[in-house]
């Protein structure tokens, strides 16, 4: 079952010396379970910041984020880490694999951190499913970009999170590899809510809903299909 995300008036300011820079302001949003949402907008519009706030990677300056009834913006650091580990999977544009771990070790990490060794044991099977059964013991530096992103998807899925967040997941890939990654990502909608930040209009078009940001605010919401 996918996660239910509620965003209530969140904003994020940064300090640049004495100056205050508001990158996100007054964003209200509700994302339904198993929905696929694309967040689009020009550079600097606050897309990645919004995604980081949804994942609990960053703290908002104001407002709150609730996932499946848990207001994650009110959790302390440890509880937030735990919540993130159990409920949220994250896929980065630059893959963010740990280069000293093999592919299978990278995938196992989130489950092992939770002490869920049964799930950790499924890492190899998960890599098989994304077509990397022959690359289990390869290090990230021995993989292509598309392969690394598939490892990242497997890692994000290992604990079967209710929310999958992806930041430009195909941004560093060629079109063929990108297509394969998107397939794998969107397959996860059966078990998770998927939120993708993208510049790519073709990806946005495949989402249930597109949320366009501009200057840190929601400029437009385009419903593509009913969730």
């Amino acid at each position: 079952m996918g996660g239910h995300i509620e965003v209530d008036g969140i904003g994020r300011d940064y300090r640049d010396g004495q100056a205050k820079l508001t990158v996100l302001d007054g964003v209200d949003l509700e994302i339904h379970p198993n929905e696929i949402v694309a967040i689009t907008g020009p550079s600097g519009s606050g897309k990645s910041t919004l995604l980081a706030l949804l994942a609990g990677l960053d703290r908002p300056s104001r407002g709150r984020v609730t996932i499946d009834g848990v207001t994650i913006t009110e959790l302390d650091e440890d509880a937030l880490s735990r919540f993130r580990g159990r409920h949220i999977g994250f896929i980065f544009q630059s893959f963010q694999l740990i280069d000293t771990l093999t592919a299978v070790e990278n995938v196992r990490v989130p489950a092992e951190l939770l002490g869920d060794f049964e799930r950790a044991g499924e890492a190899a099977a998960l890599l098989e499913r994304v077509g990397l059964g022959h690359r289990l013991t390869h290090f990230p530096s021995q993989l292509s970009g598309g392969e690394m992103q598939r490892v990242a998807i497997a890692r994000a899925s290992i604990v079967q999170p209710s929310v999958l967040l992806a930041d430009e997941p195909t941004g560093n890939l060629d079109s063929r590899a990108g297509e394969r990654v998107l397939e794998l990502l969107f397959e996860r909608r059966d078990t998770a809510t998927v939120v993708v930040v993208t510049h790519d209009a073709s990806i946005a078009e495949r989402a249930d809903r597109e949320i366009r940001l501009a200057d840190g605010r929601i400029a437009d919401v385009i419903e593509r299909r009913a969730s």
Partner: protein, 853 residues
């Protein structure tokens, strides 16, 4: 998080970082190696003393006095008590005299041991030919040692004069260690039977006689208990009771102090190692921030990240400790013969250098603990990395910012210095020493950091005017964020500071002891001059063109009371090994002197020294003695001058410069009634040549055999020999510290290699040649080394130029002849290490590096 996960992640982090981690391991290994080896050496010295002290003592118990024991009630009672309980006893006497061969030239100051039947009760006194010692009772004969045999050309069967007694040399001592002949003395020992002492004629006039009675106790009788029963009565009669455990107490105190200093040196190498791993880990974790951030993103809590990297640090420390412990334990075993070369030859017992399990465990534990403390800060920082770092590289990855970081740095330093204090207190068993040590380390680190900071800042300004691009860029690299410049310069600086200080202290001490090169110091000392001998000795000195003659009357006296309050001897430490300066000052017999003015080798620090012959009896005290007995200006001191009380008012306190080698005394009285007390004279003089000193010894030994004529040049050579042997260990540890500095530099470079590679490749893309890149790197490493060595040198000169005159009244002598080549070698070594570690920069293709992970 499960332990297995933490270990697996930590082990994974060692992949591709083994070069950098090798330096962390090396840092810890060198530190633990130093500490293990030092611990093994000090424990070997202690073990040698523990095992053989009974054999050195030759008995279970001793009662001794400066007066014949027959005159002491406690000695009689004690002896009767022990003999009634079945103890065996033997009479001994010890004094100094001159030995002159009947044929041939020369004379030699010797320490005469008059030994009674039965002694030694334990062990033996081995001689060549064997058994010669046992024949001493038969005829007037002596057993001499190798030094006397060599200097006087005496062989077995030759005859010599000991006072008025004609003696035959029946044997020569062999392997004195572990026998009663081994006690350290500036004069070599000779043995004669006790029953011939009277015939030497020396007992009547010698004032420096020690009368001893030795006991062997039957089973079931405990020497400590017997001593405790008679201790108070004995101390009241100025009689000393010692058990075999207290044998060689001076040597033991010396060994204890030597051990403490060695331990401190070992600690310094350990702390340098800890600083090394702290610095290398700091650089290492900076390169691992992205990993930590990823872990945070996938659900790791800050404490999980902390545990992973802490486990990593402990794995590294564990490997380093193991290597250090193995090498540190192997060293003493491999170089067991080294004991003789590091002062063991001067010890009364055999020393076998052997590995020490307890020292190894202590060092390993200290190594792990030091690593934990010194890597705490980088661990804390990486644990608090923000997960957001994975999305935004420009996010401040390190958790604390601004004042919070300053506070954590401060707390980190406080914890580190607290640890140093605790560790040094545990190692040296002295909180005072530990506090001084910690303070000195803290001050050195702070001063080095300041000097390093100034040098680096200065270089930034100066580099702008350097025409060479490579040098400019190399120096600019020192200011690169996360470059560990400060800690590397401090580490290299501490190493060089230590080595330079050892060499400066060594050179200064050697210069202060080199009597022959100091034209204003006397080179002959004559002790035990009786009043009727004074004129003739003055004449002999004049005939030999002696200069700076200085005669001082000496009267033996004891302290009886201060301001009418009898000296409290009840608190005197019973164990001679543990006695403090205060204990010794309240129980010892002083040689007091009298004169009308101050002497050249002293300075009045409080009150006024009399001039001439004041009406009332005045006394001037050594300032440290005054402190120990609690006598201030105006206090009334009651002395026991050979049984008669003498009251004197303290009117001045003096600081004596003993290094001037002219006679002086802790207690100086104004002239008056004291002049009538039985006395002897001590004289010092400077004779123009070794031949003149030899001639003086020859003349006086024949004419006045009771005298001790000490050629200070020869005595100084013995001290210099001992100091030089001991300094081998200190110098070796100093070099170890310099090597640690090089390892730390290598570690910092290896840890920051990835960033360096990217920079170098950028320069390459922009057109820099490999040669130019090499010059940039060499300039950077050479600058680091020069700044470290420079800072260490500046501080070493500064500290020693202030401390040596203040603490030891010795002017600092900087041995530039040896320091300059060592500094050049250190800079070269560190530059080479840097260039070697950094060479991978040239091996990579620009695209490999710039494309990134």
């Amino acid at each position: 998080m499960r332990a297995t996960t933490a270990i697996a992640l930590a082990v994974a982090e060692t992949r591709r970082a083994r070069g950098a981690l090798a330096f962390c391991i090396g840092s810890v290994a060198v530190g633990v190696f130093g500490m293990t080896a030092v611990g093994a050496v000090t424990e070997s010295l202690d073990a040698g003393l523990d095992e053989e002290t009974k054999a050195v003592f030759g008995a279970d118990l001793e009662i001794s006095s400066n007066q014949p024991l027959t005159t002491s009630t406690v000695a009689r009672t004690f002896t009767q008590d022990l003999v009634a309980k079945g103890a065996r006893s033997a009479e001994l006497a010890r004094f100094y005299s001159m030995l002159t061969p009947n044929a041939g030239e020369g004379t030699q100051l010797v320490r005469v041991h008059g030994v009674g039947d039965g002694f030694p009760f334990f062990g033996e006194i081995p001689t060549e030919p064997p058994g010669a010692y046992a024949t001493l009772t038969a005829t007037p004969s002596v057993v001499i040692d190798e030094v006397t045999a060599r200097s006087l050309g005496l062989e077995v069967g030759d005859r010599a004069q000991l006072g008025k007694l004609d003696v035959v040399v029946v044997g020569q001592l062999v392997d004195k260690a572990g026998t009663p002949a081994a006690e350290f003395s500036l004069a070599p020992p000779i043995y004669v039977h006790h029953r011939f002492l009277e015939a030497t004629g020396l007992l009547a006039r010698g004032s420096r006689m020690r009368y001893r009675r030795m006991f062997a106790l039957p089973d079931g009788l405990d020497g400590e208990t017997l001593k405790a029963e008679h201790f108070d009565a004995a101390i009241a009669e100025h009689v000393t009771i010692r058990t075999s455990r207290e044998a060689a107490s001076r040597v033991r105190r010396f060994v204890d102090r030597l051990g403490a200093f060695l331990t401190i040196m070992g600690l310094i190498t350990l702390l340098l190692g800890a600083l090394g791993i702290g610095s290398a880990m700091n650089a290492f974790v900076r390169g691992k921030l992205d990993h930590a951030a990823i872990l945070r993103c996938v659900g790791a809590r800050p404490r999980d990240v902390f545990v992973v990297y802490f486990v990593l640090a402990m794995i590294v420390a564990g490997v380093g400790c193991s290597i250090g412990v193995v090498c540190g334990s192997l060293l003493p075993a491999m170089f067991s013969g080294l004991a003789e070369s590091i002062g063991g030859a001067y010890l009364p017992t055999h020393v076998t250098l052997a590995p020490s399990t307890s020292a190894a465990i202590r060092a390993a534990f200290a190594g792990l603990l030091a690593t934990a403390v010194f890597t705490l800060q980088p661990m804390w920082r990486i644990a608090n990395v923000k997960p957001m770092t994975v999305l935004r590289r420009d996010t401040e990855g390190l958790g604390a910012l601004g004042w919070r970081r300053r506070i954590t740095s401060f707390v980190g330093f406080a914890v580190a210095f607290g640890f140093v204090l605790l560790l040094s207190a545990a190692q040296t068993a002295s909180l005072t020493l530990a506090a001084w040590f910690t303070g000195a380390i803290a001050a050195s680190v702070v001063l080095l950091a300041v000097v390093a900071w100034l040098l680096v800042r200065l270089s930034k300004v100066l580099a702008r005017h350097v025409p060479s691009y490579a040098v400019r860029q190399g120096i600019a690299n020192l200011h690169r964020p996360g470059n560990q410049t400060q800690s590397v310069v401090v580490a290299v600086g501490v190493g060089f500071l230590l080595l330079a200080s050892i060499l400066i202290i060594q050179a200064s001490m050697r210069a202060s002891i080199a009597i022959d090169q100091q034209k204003d110091l006397p080179n002959v000392f004559i002790v035990d001059i009786q009043p009727d001998q004074e004129a003739e000795i003055r004449a002999a000195l004049t005939a030999l063109d002696a200069a700076d003659e200085n005669f001082a009357p000496m009267i033996s006296a004891r302290l009886r009371a201060v301001d009418g309050v009898p000296v409290d001897k009840s608190k005197v430490e019973r164990d001679a090994r543990q006695r403090t300066f205060e204990d010794r000052m309240t129980t010892r017999e002083y040689f007091v002197t009298y004169r009308e003015t101050t002497a050249a080798n002293e300075e009045v620090v409080d009150g006024t020294f009399w001039i001439g012959r004041p009406e009332r009896q005045e006394v001037s005290l050594d300032e440290r003695l005054a402190g120990a007995i609690g006598a201030d200006i105006g206090a009334t001191l009651t002395l026991d001058v050979q049984g008669l009380p003498l009251d004197a008012t303290v009117t001045s306190l003096r600081r004596i410069r003993w290094q001037a080698l002219t006679p002086n005394a802790l207690v100086v009285l104004s002239p008056g009634d004291i002049e009538n007390a039985p006395k002897m004279f001590v004289a010092s003089a400077r004779l123009p040549s070794a031949d003149a000193r030899f001639e003086l010894q020859r003349r006086l030994a024949t004419r006045f055999p009771n005298l001790s004529v000490v050629d200070i040049t020869a005595a100084a050579e013995t001290v210099v020999g001992l100091l030089e042997q001991i300094s081998i260990v200190f110098t070796a540890l100093g070099f170890l510290a310099v090597v640690t500095g090089a390892i730390i530099l290598g570690g910092a470079i290896a840890a920051g290699r990835a960033r360096r590679e990217r920079e170098a490749m950028l320069l390459k893309v922009l057109g820099a040649s490999r040669a130019a890149l090499r010059r940039v790197l060499v300039a950077e490493y050479a600058s680091l080394a020069v700044f470290g060595v420079g800072a260490g040198w500046v501080l070493a000169e500064l500290v020693n130029r202030i401390a040596l005159p203040a603490l030891f009244e010795v002017p600092a002598v900087v041995p530039y002849g040896s320091l300059v080549p060592i500094a050049v070698a250190t800079v070269t070594l560190e530059t080479l290490v840097g260039a070697l570690i950094g060479r991978s920069v040239f091996a990579k293709a620009p695209l490999d590096v710039l494309r990134g992970p």
